[in-house]
């Protein structure tokens, strides 16, 4: 038994030494440090030993085995998230909900609206009301009684569902009558690998996102396909119909 352990340690030592030589191109200086004196002779000796060592069937086998292990391990690692390269850290995703007209109409006093923060002149809330910025109430909703407030307004939109004003686009898009068309749009979008549309949760978000200018709006990567009617919620990209008013 003793004999065996000695053998094992000897083998291990020899192995480590050999590894030193295998790796020595990487640590050239390290190697030189050890074999400063009469390095030539020692080098030849080690070289011969190395050749002999490498020729052994066992060593070849080990190289093969370890490569295979490495390969499998790395394949497993990569394979884990191969299918979700668009986005690897998943954010909890809610299912898409079509809000009903009743939900739109929910005229509870405690209702809190989401609105399209960005507008220069108008804002649109999640009930489909477009209003001037000054007519937004404290809860973020448009005041339905205000003079210029309109619901499901397609005022600046053309037949091809493209609008001049972003807010009109969103409002027009929220019209329950357009739901059928939006369903088609959504189904088309979800077949694409777009993370943008896969993370939508309801029709308001869909309309907000769909109406923004996007890769579908540009021509030659530095201009709009249609510089006026650039906000579209429909199926077709802008510029495919010229702007007949709805």
């Amino acid at each position: 038994m003793n004999m065996f352990w000695e053998n094992v340690t000897f083998d291990l030592l020899r192995y480590i030494k050999t590894m030193c030589i295998i790796w020595s191109p990487c640590f050239a200086n390290y190697g030189l440090l050890f074999h400063k004196k009469s390095s030539h002779l020692i080098f030849r000796m080690w070289y011969a030993a190395l050749i002999r060592f490498i020729r052994r069937r066992l060593v070849l086998g080990i190289i093969f085995a370890s490569s295979l292990t490495y390969c499998i391990v790395s394949f497993l690692k990569e394979g884990n998230h191969r299918d979700v390269t668009y986005q690897d850290i998943s954010i909890e995703r809610k299912p898409f909900v079509w809000r009903t007209l009743q939900e739109h109409n929910d005229s509870n006093d405690h209702v809190i609206c989401r609105n399209s923060v960005q507008g220069k002149n108008f804002l649109v809330d999640d009930r489909g009301y477009v209003c001037q910025r000054k007519d937004v109430t404290k809860n973020g909703c448009c005041d339905p009684e205000a003079d210029f407030t309109e619901r499901y307004s397609c005022e600046s939109c053309s037949k091809s569902s493209c609008c001049v004003e972003y807010e009109h686009c969103v409002s027009c898009c929220l019209d329950p009558g357009k739901r059928h068309m939006l369903e088609i749009v959504l189904s088309k979008l979800s077949t694409e690998k777009s993370i943008l549309f896969r993370s939508l949760t309801d029709d308001y978000e869909l309309c907000l996102t769909k109406c923004r200018t996007s890769s579908y709006s540009v021509l030659h990567e530095n201009s709009y396909k249609d510089p006026t009617h650039k906000h579209c919620f429909g199926d077709e990209p802008p510029g495919s119909h010229s702007g007949n008013k709805m």
Binding site: F64, S67, T85, Y86, Q118, V218, N222
Partner: protein, 1042 residues
């Protein structure tokens, strides 16, 4: 099959190792010629000092002992003429191990004798080391050198190059610089960390080249998305990793906001390709994710990419704080990059740790407003962008430079201070106000270089903590007399009848995303203020969070002889609806102090008019550079303004007492009788027929005309087209270097024409070395004019015949240089008379014409400028006296070839099917010829409401006291309790544990170790099996035998 597998896999096994070593080699080969990123280079030479030798002893001995040893060694060899150089330093009393010996004429013998002495270790020659510091051009990076220099595909957005700072440059001795400290501690971020402010809860988006999933420096990568269509999210270039590291690294080289939530948007491919459409979709996603701070270490010159520009505005309107790098195209002026030059974006320039503007940092005013208006001040602020340490792809740290670095410094700083202030205080406007109003002004650089100054994180934090919604102006005062900060305003005083001086002020409206300028009023300070007339123009709507306010200053007629300082102030009232839904209207009245110097009207001969109106440029159309060899940057995008790329020329003219005014309108709107000369330098546009008539009259009445033209050749235009990957279409130049056919139309009334051949070459003119970088030539010239020729090469021929223009200097063709007429001086007059012998006092009334064929030599950044030639031309144009330098060079009259066809050439024709009318201000867009001449616009001055006021302080700049880091308190927001911190590295650091986001650091070394372990394990197992198996077999045999 199995065998091939083996080979393949064993190659794989060694691949990581190869990668490491090849990387090392590459880093060593990297020859940026920069030891410091500001491109200061230490030149390093050594010389052997004759007859001096250093003797190193084997131990430390007192001086006398050493002298004895040397004496013994040398006397034994019979050498007498030696001496030890006395070292007179504080160490002389202590034992030393070396001496320097002067051996006058003893050679080897003495050295051998010394070497043989038992106490001497070695003898070496004394060397003298000379180091000199010099600046090198940034272009000198070798092929494998600086990372990502320049934009790809010339236009479009590019990553701002990060320049690698060399850590281990020379193998021999070098000056050691102070080790770069953590950038976070330089900006005192650790003070905020110790208060528990660590960027927690702030969503920071990084639009870049991606980031590895398990990079050891990052703990809170919330999301990584790819928008390029490449099947990866990782960063192969290092740009994205570095940028993300500066923002949020929590190990080794620390980032500012280690607890911020990182959203990584990969919008650049490994080949640095990117498209506007990718950005649009990614930006939409950023809006939906409700990102707080968005860093764009990218940029390009195309501010007319409307989908992109609009989208950036949309992001700001959605309360996303946009931070972007101003560009790496310095030190030239007029090089600002989009989107950093947008008024809603925080544009960041770079400085070094010595507080000087980094040479690469882009600067100069924005150029959107030209020719009628004037550019706004950018960058907004500057911060460290040179030699900053940040994360590298393989898990370590590296030092890089570039405005790409400065931008995430600011983005990280914003994320950090945002987490320590109440949410409602955070808007793109409030943050910009906080950074700008607390920035520390640097001494020296002007406002178009440094903006408001250097980022002061602690003061900005203090400002934002106590923020009240407000509107501010940027710049917040206008002192047209203050040099250097108010360059170029301070270089030329105001006077009656001059073209208006325009200040472009940005209104930052923190009251709401939308606002209006309600009123602008001018309050001159008595007694002299009333002499100044101010008119204003401003954006209809201040959106998003910002707008512009242009103030133009002119002197009233009553001030024609006034000489002195004028003061006053402009009040601006901003009106905004309250965002909280109270339906209230908020008002803010801002005061903008104004000071100007007024002088009496200069004489006509000192006043020059610079034609800006006929200058067209990129973006919009493809207007090629004036130098055809500039292949790496083929677009003319520096605006050709006297305050951008013709800045050096402007300075030279001012030094010589000329007053230069910019003509931003057609010539018909100008009173030409006020000016001595009109400068037409590199014009690209056509001329209105009315303008030509006006010019004719003006020249007859004494206005001189100076033309610096450039190349134009229709077939060459087709030749220099290129396929632009960003717009996926062919780009054909709209004009040549300048629009020579249009110039010929203009000059035809003087029988002067420029030809269509393109020449290039170096020559000497009047003792000055000159370089003619792709210019035209004079095709015909009246006989009584003075004509000067130079030996030049036919560059057009070289390019068309297939030789690449870039290689033109390498392989010079055997063709003889031609004597090309390039400069013509002409006394214009109604009828052709010989005035060349006239003396100065008989100068005719009508103006003179000077034509030169190349304009690139007047631009900034050229090696051999021709400012002297412009001054000589002005001397002729204004006084009528041919300078001696030009007189000598002129072709004698008798040798002149008669009139046309001085050299065989054609008149250039306008390219067929050209699209110049699309971009022209003169041609109508339908291509049917010139449009009706626009009406001359004269701004209505604001009614002056004079006030009595004491003279203001010497400087109008509001004093801002930097906050003492010790004085700041912890944030008053719930949920952020200050916690004691102990962390490796500099200063305090975040301590919160986030179990779900803890990642195991993996790097190449780790992998190698794992691999080694596997190999060892398998080997051991195999050996075990071998031994045991033999034993078992033996036992079996034994048992069988028994």
């Amino acid at each position: 099959m199995g065998f091939t597998h083996t080979i393949l896999l064993s190659v794989m096994l060694y691949l990581p190792i190869l990668l490491i070593s090849s990387k090392e080699v590459r880093e060593k080969n990297e020859n940026c010629n920069t030891t410091e990123s500001e491109r200061v280079q230490y030149e390093f030479t050594t010389d052997v000092v004759k007859s001096q030798h250093i003797i190193t002893f084997k131990g430390y001995y007192p001086r006398s002992t050493r002298e004895n040893y040397v004496n013994a060694a040398l006397t034994s060899a019979g050498i007498t003429d030696w001496k030890i150089i006395k070292r007179n330093n504080p160490a002389k009393e202590y034992p030393s191990d070396f001496d320097v010996v002067v051996l006058e004429n003893a050679g080897r013998k003495a050295l051998e004798a010394l070497q043989d002495h038992p106490a001497v270790r070695r003898v070496t020659a004394q060397r003298q080391v000379t180091r000199s510091i010099k600046y090198v051009k940034e272009d000198e990076c070798g092929s494998g050198g600086c990372l990502y220099s320049g934009w790809r595909n010339y236009r479009g957005r590019g990553l701002h190059s990060l320049r690698k700072t060399r850590d281990n440059g020379y193998t021999s001795r070098k000056l050691l610089r102070t080790v770069p400290r953590q950038i976070t501690s330089v900006l005192k971020a650790d003070v905020l960390w110790s208060l528990g402010v660590t960027g927690e809860g702030i969503k920071v988006a990084v639009f870049d080249t991606g980031l590895a999933r398990n990079h050891p420096h990052f703990g809170r990568i919330r999301e990584r998305t790819d928008w390029t269509g490449e099947d990866t999210l990782d960063d192969a270039l290092g740009h994205g990793t570095f940028v993300a590291g500066v923002i949020a690294s929590k190990a080794d080289c620390l980032g500012f906001a280690p607890d911020a939530d990182l959203h990584i948007f990969r919008v650049f491919t490994d080949n640095q390709v990117s498209y506007t459409s990718w950005f649009l979709d990614a930006f939409n996603y950023a809006i939906m994710r409700k990102i707080d701070v968005l860093n764009l270490s990218i940029g390009g010159p195309d501010f007319m990419d409307h989908p992109f520009v609009d989208k950036v505005w949309e992001l700001s309107a959605n309360k996303v704080i946009m931070v972007s790098a101003i560009g790496n195209d310095g030190p030239l002026y007029g090089t600002l990059n989009n989107p950093a030059d947008q008024m809603d974006v925080i544009g960041v320039g770079g400085i070094g740790f010595d507080d000087r503007i980094a040479k690469f940092s882009s600067r100069g005013m924005t150029t959107w407003e030209l020719p009628q208006g004037y550019g706004r001040m950018k960058p907004d602020i500057v911060t460290y962008g040179s030699g900053v340490r940040g994360s590298s792809v393989n898990g370590g740290c590296k030092s890089l430079s570039g405005t790409s670095v400065a931008s995430p410094v600011v983005a990280g700083a914003i994320a950090l201070l945002a987490s320590g202030v109440p949410r409602q205080n955070l808007t793109p406007a409030s943050v910009k106000q906080a950074l700008c109003s607390t920035a520390l002004r640097l001494q020296g650089p002007n406002m178009f270089e440094q903006g408001h100054g250097k980022l002061d994180l602690i003061s900005a934090y203090q400002f934002l903590r106590k923020y009240e919604p407000q509107a501010t102006l940027s710049p917040n005062y206008i002192d047209l007399t203050e040099c250097q900060y108010m360059w170029p305003y301070c270089t030329q005083p105001l006077y009656y009848s001059s073209q208006p001086t325009i200040a472009n002020v940005t209104v930052i409206n923190g009251l709401s995303v939308v606002g209006n300028v309600k009123e602008v009023s001018w309050h001159p300070h008595l007694p002299h203020g009333v002499l100044l007339s101010v008119s204003s123009d401003y954006s209809d709507v201040l959106w998003p969070w910002s707008g512009w306010l242009a103030l133009s200053f002119t002197v009233r007629e009553e001030g024609a002889n006034f000489d002195g300082i004028i003061e006053g102030h402009v009040n601006v009232t901003i009106e905004s609806h309250d965002d909280t839904g109270d339906r209230t209207i908020k008002n803010a009245t801002l005061t903008l102090p104004i000071r100007a110097r007024v002088i009496p009207v200069p004489v006509r001969s000192r006043r020059l008019l610079w034609d800006q109106f006929h200058s067209l440029r990129y973006p919009g159309g493809y207007f090629p550079r004036d130098d055809l060899r500039a292949k790496h940057d083929p677009l003319d995008w520096h605006a050709d303004h006297i305050h951008t790329n013709f800045r050096d020329m402007y300075r030279r003219l001012r030094e010589h007492g000329f007053y230069v005014e910019v003509m931003g309108t057609p010539l018909t709107c100008i009173d030409t009788s006020l000016y001595g000369a009109l400068l037409l330098v590199d014009p690209e546009d056509e001329y209105f027929p009315e303008e030509m008539a006006t010019l004719k009259k003006a020249v007859d009445a004494g206005l001189s005309l100076i033309v610096f033209a450039d190349w134009y050749n229709a077939s060459l235009l087709r030749h220099v087209k290129f396929y632009d990957e960003n717009t996926r279409q062919w780009w054909i130049p709209e004009t040549g270097g300048s629009n020579v056919p249009a110039l010929n139309d203009l000059l035809s009334m003087y029988q002067v024409a420029l030809g269509d051949r393109v020449f290039e070459g170096s020559f000497k003119l009047g003792g000055h070395p000159m370089y003619y970088a792709s210019g035209t030539h004079i095709h015909s010239f009246p006989e009584h004019g003075v004509l000067i020729t130079a030996p030049l090469n036919d560059q057009g021929q070289q390019i068309i015949s297939g030789e690449k223009p870039g290689a033109a200097n390498g392989k010079t063709e055997v063709t003889q240089p031609l004597q090309v007429p390039i400069l013509g001086l002409l006394q214009t007059d109604g009828d052709i008379h010989d005035y060349s012998n006239d003396t100065v006092d008989k100068v005719p009334k009508s103006g003179r014409l000077v034509v030169y064929g190349d304009s690139s030599c007047l631009e900034g950044g050229t090696a051999r400028n021709c400012h002297w030639l412009l001054l000589a031309a002005l001397q002729y144009a204004i006084v009528g006296h041919v300078p001696p330098a030009l007189k000598e060079a002129a072709t004698p009259q008798e040798k002149r070839v008669r009139d046309v066809h001085i050299i065989p050439s054609e008149l250039p024709r306008r390219a067929e099917g050209g699209r110049l009318h699309v971009y022209s201000r003169v041609l109508s867009p339908d291509g049917s010829g010139p449009r009706p001449i626009p009406e001359c616009f004269s701004p209505t001055p604001l009614p002056s409401q004079p006030v009595h006021a004491a003279p203001s302080a010497r400087t109008l700049a509001p004093r801002h006291q930097p906050t003492d880091p010790k004085s700041i308190g912890p944030p008053e927001i719930e949920g952020t309790e200050p916690a004691p911190r102990a962390w490796r590295g500099a200063g305090a650091a975040p301590s919160r544990v986030h179990p779900q986001s803890e990642t195991t650091p993996t790097s190449l070394t780790n992998r190698a170790i794992t691999l080694l372990a596997i190999v060892t394990a398998i080997y051991t197992v195999a050996q075990l099996w071998k031994r045991w198996g033999r034993r078992i077999r033996r036992r079996r045999i034994i048992s069988l035998a028994t």
